[in-house]
Subunit: 105 residues, 2 copies
């Protein structure tokens, strides 16, 4: 689903990743992190797709919400495990969403 | 591939979409638009993945580059055709990338 974000401005975190061969534990942790993110203060929505690379974009009210989610204890453990096992490479980009527009049939 | 963008700041355009059932003409036009985007002034890279939704993030030097690409004549025709045939819904978000970091195994 395309995230139903509020009127601009808000923030986006673009997380682009390439996986390793390791599958074990990934889905459960990803599901758990998604559920937790949704409960965070300032969370606005998420969009995700994976083919050769994975792109997950999460939307947030402000930088403080992003910082708090990044430093969440369980999330820190998941990030650590991600670097050890699940991700070959990733890049995280913190963005200020200035403007948006949409089309609906 | 994860886009090899320069040091921040730069801009990102997050294009999130849901397709219709129409396949005809889509791949050719998408390939052509990708090739054209790469030739635009201020183009920095692109990342794309599709599952239930498609996410394409293109990176740009500044807002002027984004504006010029949006208004490119052949791209305008493709956008028009996209609304008519290929896309059920889409959302475009124009973002200022403030900060990024990466992990490589």
């Amino acid at each position: 689903m395309i995230a139903k974000t509020p009127i601009t401005p808000y923030y986006a975190v673009i997380f682009t990743s390439e996986r390793t061969e390791v599958r074990e534990g990934y889905s459960n942790t990803a599901d758990r992190m998604l559920e937790m993110a949704k409960g965070q203060e300032g969370y606005l929505g998420i969009e995700s797709a994976r083919e050769e690379i994975g792109i997950t974009v999460s939307y947030w009210k402000d930088l403080d919400s992003i910082r708090k989610w990044k430093m969440n204890a369980e999330h820190l453990m998941a990030q650590e495990k991600g670097r050890k096992e699940w991700y070959q490479n990733y890049k995280t980009r913190i963005c200020f969403v200035e403007r948006d527009y949409e089309f609906n049939k």
